[in-house]
Symmetry: C2
Subunit: 226 residues, 2 copies
Amino acid sequence: MTQAKITRSVVLLSGGLDSTVLLYHLKSLSVEPIALSVNYGQRHARELEAAASIARMIGAPHTIADLSSISPLLGGSALTSDTIPVPLGHYEDETMKQTVVPNRNMIFLALATAFAISSKCDSVAYAAHSGDHAIYPDCRKDFADAMEAAVSLCDWTPICLMRPFVNMTKADVVRKGHDLDVPFRETWSCYQGHTIHCGECGTCVERREAFVLAGVPDPTCYASRV
Amino acid sequence: MTQAKITRSVVLLSGGLDSTVLLYHLKSLSVEPIALSVNYGQRHARELEAAASIARMIGAPHTIADLSSISPLLGGSALTSDTIPVPLGHYEDETMKQTVVPNRNMIFLALATAFAISSKCDSVAYAAHSGDHAIYPDCRKDFADAMEAAVSLCDWTPICLMRPFVNMTKADVVRKGHDLDVPFRETWSCYQGHTIHCGECGTCVERREAFVLAGVPDPTCYASRV
């Protein structure tokens, strides 16, 4: 299936920076986006409010799939546990392994693909980029390739799995978002469950760095000035 | 990963005949089964009671993942709709396409794999068999092969996706269940939401045929004697 045939896509919208830029990117290509977010019991459920707000701003229908009741199946991650603290520092640090949610990407892609079939979309899009981290097994290229094959076979009409940012860095994504007038201020990255970005957890550190590397002003209000 | 290394497996247990035989089969191989069922808003939720009862009988821990709140994402199937009747007849009939639930297998396998990772299992097992029907795109061998590859890559320690019945017919599965003293009477196949098997829907017809072909007495009470 070539890119030219894509007309309507379920977009996995976390409410974070990358998936928001993806939403605007698809819209700029005249692809009709149907936004899907997932409540999996994450402590940073604040991102779901961000996702709803962003979808409203761009005029995309938005659905939140509520998987919070199955969060025990996804046990052992700092993102879903009340007892494991979110580690601070850089993604390369060993402690960041505590933020792995078992098989999250496969679950999200499976739900998005089901929704694509039932809502007559031709594709599913997600915002994997080249900076996705080596600590996450389900961010590997081989995994994504296998999922692309599975997604293309799960219905009689093939569903296309789109990863348009897969060869871009997060700084590239910020640059693209800047060009598309993405409202970065509305996006949410922080893994802590607070009301403003902590500025110190792995995803905050990565967010700050990406703006600096992109040479784009960062409108985010961080609790830490570090 | 060879079969010899499998010690503990999440088993997708619908409460039907095939997955129940699978549970007994794994137990007979000294694999420790962890049973997982999924409530996806199916009208035949009676099968979940069957699954719970069977897991209790064999002494396996049993979890029901409640996805009923996301059944709108899985729309358009006679199995989840209040308005689309369950078609009667044979699986080869065109009308049976109404029983397709979008991407059900990928969602189930994704959840089972997450549960396998979080509960320290080395494998996921499901009861695909050679009679799984050409109307279901996600019963195709190519789809299952792609999922096997994805499942093996979604964690650093590979999870093995087991389909031990994949080259067996449903009659073969009945024969194996008979040899293993499976309590067939406890299993539930019918797609209708009634209290006894209707005997006329696609899955009832297939169930009846399998017992006849296997030469095994069928203990099921059917509403229809046809």
